[in-house]
């Protein structure tokens, strides 16, 4: 009787496994070149670190602040995003500060999604979308990005939604669609036209849009990040999510935000006041100060929002070159700091990796063990039905310092020599 009574609730049934818990453990060995988890090993900008040290020294900042977001932070966020969106954003009613973008996703889904709802998720997807939708009692409906070969070199832009296939997924039960642009793991930056297709369907079916834009500043030459909330008819039905961790290379600060119309944000605020109530104060104050510094130079190329993406573009290009020289065809991302690559040309036999897992899981485990290089298997970002489609792909993270990429280069250069 004891085991039964203390069983978990229905809402978390089947949600206990997690790719990160599995792979961060395996890759924690310092001798492994870790290009797996999206963890920068480059330094955050010095002024960001300094602002936190300054905030920590102020007594008052060690106690509770406003639950829905530290006043100076929500003010700074409203200014930055008013500029980006070209519309007025009320810091007190249109913004919620959360524990990472993860917390914003959770608050949004708990606030607005429930049993009987369907939520459209574009595949591959950041893995937490599916369990969060399930935990809210709703049904995830998947629609895949498909590779369209138009003859040009393989870029993330080649991965597209089929408009008819997408339209078919919408019905009267569709409560929301989750959009992630720039996209993790593919690196796709949805064009205005692609966003208009999604927006038209949202309006037609009165569907909400949960727009995960954590990589919004990491967009490479020739591409522009378009916020779906700025398209006609979309502000009133969109929650836009951002991340300090990705903006300032401080994933360990775990601060994110949700921005949208008051009539939606107020429900996220109710969830927040019943889950963790308030986020840490000194981190919010430091983030606010960092935002003011960059807000003041948003016309200047030295603004960190632009300088980081320039820094990452050269790392992207280097990573792509290394993989190409190893005989692979990486998908060149237009945004974000991940790159996916099809590893089937390497023809690695992993049948002795004794697990009932998809090829890419076994490949990554083999690669960690025998090559001392880690990545993340792409099927971690897919629903069961689609895993076959993506199981030859793995994801590399390139927000890494030069010495890490140097170490990766050595491994990749020697790869062919060993297998030859």
């Amino acid at each position: 009787t004891m085991a039964f009574r203390h069983k978990n609730t229905r809402r978390i049934e089947g949600l206990d496994s997690n790719v990160w818990v599995e792979f961060t453990k395996v890759a924690a060995d310092p001798s492994i070149v870790n290009l797996g988890q999206g963890l920068p090993d480059i330094s955050p900008p010095s002024y960001v670190k300094e602002e936190l040290a300054k905030a920590a020294a102020v007594d008052k900042l060690n106690q509770y602040t406003r639950g829905f977001g530290h006043p100076s932070l929500v003010k700074a966020l409203s200014q930055v995003y008013e500029r980006v969106c070209g519309r007025k954003i009320d810091p007190l009613t249109d913004i919620l500060v959360t524990v990472g973008a993860y917390g914003s996703l959770f608050s949004t889904i708990q606030a607005l999604i429930e049993e009987g709802d369907e939520v459209i998720i574009i595949e591959p997807f950041y893995d937490c979308y599916e369990p969060m939708v399930k935990m809210a009692g709703a049904k995830p409906v998947f629609v895949p990005l498909r590779y369209k070969n138009d003859g040009s070199s393989v870029s993330s832009a080649c991965w597209v939604l089929d408009p008819a296939e997408l339209a078919n997924k919408f019905n009267s039960k569709t409560k929301a669609i989750i959009l992630n642009t720039p996209h993790n793991p593919v690196g796709k930056v949805f064009s205005r036209e692609e966003l208009e297709v999604i927006a038209d369907l949202c309006i037609k079916h009165d569907t909400l849009c949960i727009s995960d834009e954590v990589y919004e500043w990491l967009v490479y030459k020739g591409k522009k990040h378009v916020k779906i909330a700025t398209l006609p008819g979309m502000w009133e039905r969109t929650i836009t999510i951002g991340s300090a961790g990705k903006t300032y290379s401080v994933t360990g600060w775990k601060l994110g935000w949700a921005i949208g119309p008051q009539n939606l944000i107020k429900h996220l605020q109710v969830v927040h006041q019943n889950t963790l109530y308030t986020c840490p104060t000194p981190l919010q104050e430091a983030l606010a100060q960092a935002f003011w510094i960059d807000y003041k130079r948003m016309d200047d190329p030295d603004c960190y929002f632009y300088s980081l993406s320039r820094e990452l573009e050269s790392k992207r290009d280097r990573m792509a070159q290394l993989l190409q020289e190893a005989g692979l065809k990486p998908v060149i991302p237009d945004g974000g700091y991940f790159m996916i690559v099809d590893v089937s040309p390497l023809n690695v036999d992993v049948s002795d990796v004794d697990e009932k897992q998809p090829y890419d899981y076994k490949f990554v485990k083999w690669m960690i063990k025998s090559k001392k290089l880690s990545a993340i298997p792409l099927s971690a970002f897919c629903a069961p039905e689609t895993k076959r489609q993506f199981e030859k792909y793995i994801r590399f993270c390139f927000i890494k310092k030069d010495s890490t990429l140097d170490a990766a280069e050595v491994i990749l250069k020697n790869w062919n020599k060993q297998t030859a």
């Binding site: 009787t1 004891m2 009574r5 203390h6 978990n8 609730t9 809402r11 978390i12 206990d16 818990v21 961060t24 988890q37 963890l39 090993d41 330094s43 936190l52 040290a53 920590a56 020294a57 007594d59 900042l61 060690n62 106690q63 509770y64 602040t65 639950g67 524990v99 990472g100 993860y102 917390g103 959770f106 708990q110 606030a111 607005l112 429930e114 937490c128 369990p131 969060m132 935990m135 009267s172 009165d206 909400l208 401080v250 994933t251 360990g252 600060w253 775990k254 009539n263 939606l264 429900h267 109710v270 006041q273 019943n274 889950t275 963790l276 109530y277 308030t278 986020c279 840490p280 981190l283």
Partner: protein
């Protein structure tokens, strides 16, 4: 015809509220309202529970050291279920106190404040149809979190016993009726929430009282969610007894703690849950699907704080010895201030809260017949607006049905600098003089 069906479907969707049903009845929050009032009107804020003095130097230094390190690893993700140095020292520290070996990887989980640990417990264990016993008065989030999880809160009140003649009432005089408590347990009871030391009354449950609860938990196979955030704030030589150390309780208890309350750093939002892996595994599932990681740097600093306290345990230099000593003094000042003007304090055995009976001041705030708002809430609002003194009405800590039971009691926080408590005293003295002058 197809267009007609489409627009009917749309109308059906639009007529349904956009928010999920789980938010029903949990949108109001006393803190949002009262914090705003305090910020606007108060000159002396004894309302929301946070210290107005800083965290100890050793903790602030630990944080600065953590930030200044050459490697910036502390600005990046750490282990999702808790930064290794922190879970290790928590396991060591509390293992010693509980007299058992705790595995830092499976028996401890770090959360964003004790608040998030509570959330994980309710989400992990409370399903629709489950009942959860909540002892009144209670920290208000217990009720809303149970509801959000689809459960039914079942309230059982602490009842005041008249104190001996001439003596001030103590929080010890508020007790559960054993028969009444037992009657609340049935086969739908999934858990009981225990908060000792208790916010708002300051009651420190005795071993005997805990045994009563434990016996019922064991008899009915019920979980115990034990909120012990004020564990170090016990006065007059009282002992904080951990219910998980009672026979049969470790296997069915989740213990919740808070760095904010332990180290006077509420703004850091570092808390933890401890218990057997069999229970903690489900908290981990909720955690990895809601916030996943907690901020790294503060966890490192709290780990160092605990390492210091582990070495100094029981010694005079220990913060866990010094803080309650200082707070007891502050408690006694506030008790004196309130008693001197005719507000009758209930002397708390623990926490940094004190509840007082304001009946003697009722004439200042006229009764409004047919008002929805409990008297103590109106009193507290009038007091902050007109006297600049912020406190929280006790009805905030009671369920809807019982809000008028104790409508003459308000809660003060005394974790405040001497200057703040002196200023409060002045306000009270002036107020009394105004009442007495013709």
């Amino acid at each position: 015809l197809p267009t007609l069906f489409l627009s009917l479907f749309l109308q059906a969707k639009m007529s349904r509220p956009v928010q999920a049903r789980r938010l029903e009845g949990i949108d109001k929050n006393i803190w949002v309202e009262f914090v705003k009032l305090a910020d606007t009107y108060s000159t002396v804020n004894l309302g929301q529970g946070f210290p107005d003095f800083p965290p100890p130097d050793f903790l602030k230094q630990a944080f600065v050291r953590a930030l200044g390190r050459e490697d910036h690893a502390l600005h990046q993700y750490t282990r999702a279920f808790g930064h290794p140095p922190l879970v290790k020292i928590l396991a060591q520290f509390f293992g010693k106190l509980l007299g058992r070996e705790l595995d830092p990887m499976t028996d401890v989980m770090v959360t964003v404040g004790a608040y998030q640990a509570l959330f994980c417990c309710f989400q992990a264990f409370v399903d629709e149809g489950d009942e959860v016993i909540v002892i009144e008065p209670f920290f208000d989030c217990y009720e809303t979190m149970v509801k959000m999880a689809g459960g039914t809160p079942v309230f059982v009140p602490l009842r005041p016993k008249a104190p001996n003649d001439g003596k001030l009432m103590s929080s010890a005089d508020w007790q559960l009726d054993p028969a009444e408590l037992a009657s609340k347990f049935n086969k739908r009871t999934k858990a009981i929430v225990l908060n000792s030391p208790n916010n708002p009354l300051g009651k420190v449950f005795s071993r005997g009282e805990l045994q009563l609860i434990a016996d019922l938990c064991v008899k009915h196979d019920v979980l115990c969610i034990s909120d012990e955030v004020y564990e170090w704030l016990v006065y007059d030589g009282k002992e904080h007894v951990r219910i998980a150390s009672l026979q049969g309780m470790w296997d069915r208890t989740v213990i919740i703690g808070s760095a904010g309350k332990t180290f006077s750093a509420t703004g850091w939002k570092v808390g933890w849950a401890m218990g057997p892996n069999r229970l903690l595994q489900h908290l981990r599932t909720v955690h990895q699907n809601s916030v996943y990681h907690c901020a790294t740097a503060a966890q490192e600093a709290v780990a160092q704080g605990f390492q210091r306290e582990f070495a100094l345990y029981g010694k005079p230099d220990s913060y866990f010895v010094q803080l309650p000593k200082e707070l007891q003094q502050k408690r006694d000042w506030l008790v004196q201030s309130l008693d001197a003007v005719g507000m009758k304090p209930i002397v708390p055995e623990g926490t940094y809260f004190l509840v007082a009976d304001i009946s003697a001041f009722k004439s200042d705030v006229p009764d409004v017949p047919n008002s929805n708002e409990p008297y103590d809430s109106r009193f507290a609002k009038w007091m902050v607006k007109n006297k600049g003194l912020a406190a929280i009405p006790l009805s905030a800590f009671c369920c809807e049905a019982h809000k008028s039971n104790y409508n003459h009691l308000i809660r003060f926080c005394f974790a405040k600098e001497e200057a703040t408590l002196k200023a409060a005293n002045e306000i009270l003295q002036k107020w009394k003089q105004e009442k007495n002058s013709p």
